[in-house]
C-alpha cells in the first residue's frame, strides 16, 4: 500500500509541475471538485485515444434504471507513461469508479479517483500510476 502511494505521488509529481494544468483544458470549468460520485457498473465502451481516454459504464440505480456514464481519464500518452495500456479497461467487465461530476449536468464525470477493476485491483486513474506488479502483469 505504501509502495502504491509512493508511486502515485511520484508520477503525479511528474505530471503536475508548477504552473501546469493536468489536461489540455481547465479541469474545474468542466468538473465539480466538490461533487464526488462512486459509480459501480459494467464497462460498455473504451476509447483509448487522445486527448483523453474515455470509457463508458452502465450503472443501474435502485429502481433498476440503467444510465450510461461517460468517464474521462488523462490522455493516452499520460496514462501510458504511468504504466497503463489499452488492455487495462475491458468491455463487459465490472468496475467501481470514484469520479467528479460534470458541471453542466450531463452524465459525464472525471474518473480521477480510485478505480477498482474486475479482479479487485485498485488503481489510480489520471494523475497517478500503479505498482510495478500491476504494470508488469
Amino acid at each position: 500500500m505504501k509502495l502504491t502511494l509512493a508511486i502515485m505521488i511520484g508520477v503525479a509529481a511528474v505530471f503536475c509541475q508548477a504552473g501546469q494544468v493536468f489536461a489540455h483544458h481547465s479541469f474545474s470549468a468542466e468538473y465539480d471538485v466538490n461533487k464526488v460520485l462512486v459509480l459501480k457498473g459494467v464497462i460498455t465502451k473504451v476509447e483509448w485515444t487522445n486527448p483523453h481516454v474515455r470509457f463508458y459504464v452502465d450503472v443501474k440505480d435502485d429502481k433498476g434504471v440503467v444510465t450510461n456514464w461517460d468517464l474521462e481519464l488523462m490522455s493516452l500518452n499520460t496514462l501510458t507513461r504511468a504504466g497503463w495500456n489499452k488492455y487495462d479497461l475491458k468491455v463487459g467487465e465490472n468496475v467501481t469508479v470514484t469520479a467528479y461530476l460534470a458541471v453542466d449536468g450531463s452524465k459525464r464525470a472525471n474518473a480521477r479517483g480510485n478505480i477498482t477493476l474486475a479482479d479487485g485491483r485498485q488503481v489510480m486513474a489520471g494523475d497517478a500510476g500503479r505498482t510495478n506488479q500491476e504494470t508488469q502483469r
Binding site: 509541475q17 508548477a18 501546469q20 494544468v21 483544458h25 481547465s26 474545474s28 486527448p51 474515455r54 493516452l76
Partner: protein, 262 residues
C-alpha cells in the same frame, strides 16, 4: 515556392532528428513514451564543438504567472487588456480547442529540443497540444521587416556564454498566456534565456514586453526538467475532443482555474 519552403523545413527537421543520436546523450528507444524514470544526472553535456547540448525530452517550464515573476517585477495589465481577460470564457481557451499555446505557455506534455549539427537552427518539437514545432534561427539573420502574425512568431537566437537567447516578434493575438485568459497583442516581443544548468535542468527565463497589454515589461523565471529515456509520442488533440462543449464559466475565475484533484 511555399511548397518548397515547407518541404525544406520538413527535411531540416527530419535531418536534425536523424542526426540527434550523434549529438545527444544516448536515450532508450521505447516507442511508448518511456516511464517516469527520473532525470539524468551529472553536469550539463556539451557538443563536440563546446556548445551546450540542449537536446533531449523535457517536461514543464514556460508559462506566465504572478508566482513565477522575477523578484521585483510586476505584472500589470492595461485597462483594455484587463477588460478582455475578464470577458473571456473558459470554453474559448485556444488550448482547450486544440490550437497552439503560442509563446511561452506550455501544455502538460513533453517537448524536445533539437539542435542542427551546423548550429544554425534549434527546433522545439511539441508532443502536445497540436504536435507542432518552433524554429529558432541561429544563423545571424535579422527579424523579418513586416512578418505575418503567427502563433509562434519569428525567432532568432544567439549564444551568450552557455545561455541561448531567443528574441521573438511577429506574434498573432490569438493565444492566451494561460487558462485564466491572460491576453497579449501583436506588439508582443519576447526574449527567452535558456540555460542548461545541469544534466536534468533547463532554466528558462522569459521577458514579456507588450506595450499593447501590459504597463511595463516583466520577466518570469521557470524551469523545465529533462526526462531520461523518454520519447515523444503521437498526440492528436482533435482525434476525440469532446470536452469543450461541456466547459462552463469565465476563464478568469476560481471555478475555471481550480486545480485538478490530487
Amino acid at each position: 515556392m511555399k511548397t518548397h519552403v515547407i518541404s525544406s523545413l520538413a527535411g531540416a527537421v527530419a535531418l536534425a532528428v536523424l542526426l540527434l543520436p550523434l549529438t545527444s546523450s544516448p536515450v532508450v528507444a521505447q516507442g511508448r513514451g518511456g516511464r517516469a524514470a527520473g532525470p539524468p544526472a551529472g553536469p550539463a553535456p556539451r557538443l563536440p564543438n563546446g556548445t551546450p547540448d540542449f537536446s533531449g525530452v523535457l517536461m514543464g517550464g514556460g508559462g506566465v504567472s504572478v508566482r513565477a515573476l522575477k523578484p521585483g517585477d510586476t505584472l500589470t495589465l492595461l485597462p483594455e487588456a484587463k477588460k478582455l481577460q475578464d470577458s473571456r470564457l473558459a470554453k474559448d481557451d485556444p488550448e482547450a480547442n486544440c490550437l497552439p499555446t503560442g509563446v511561452p505557455r506550455m501544455n502538460p506534455y513533453p517537448w524536445r529540443m533539437v539542435q542542427s549539427i551546423d548550429g544554425k537552427y534549434i527546433f522545439i518539437l511539441f508532443e502536445g497540444n497540436i504536435h507542432s514545432y518552433r524554429q529558432i534561427f541561429l544563423d545571424g539573420r535579422k527579424h523579418l521587416s513586416d512578418p505575418d502574425p503567427t502563433w509562434y512568431g519569428h525567432s532568432i537566437g544567439h549564444w551568450e556564454g552557455d545561455t541561448l537567447v531567443v528574441d521573438t516578434v511577429g506574434f498573432n493575438d490569438k493565444f492566451w498566456f494561460g487558462a485564466s485568459g491572460l491576453p497579449h497583442t501583436t506588439k508582443l516581443h519576447t526574449v527567452e534565456r535558456f540555460t542548461r544548468t545541469d544534466a536534468s535542468t533547463m532554466s528558462w527565463d522569459i521577458t514579456i514586453d507588450d506595450p499593447g497589454a501590459y504597463a511595463k515589461p516583466f520577466t518570469v523565471q521557470t524551469k523545465a526538467r529533462y526526462e531520461a529515456g523518454w520519447e515523444l509520442m503521437e498526440y492528436i488533440c482533435q482525434e476525440n475532443e469532446t470536452s469543450v462543449e461541456h466547459i462552463r464559466g469565465l476563464a478568469n475565475s476560481p471555478s475555471a482555474n481550480g486545480a485538478a484533484p490530487q
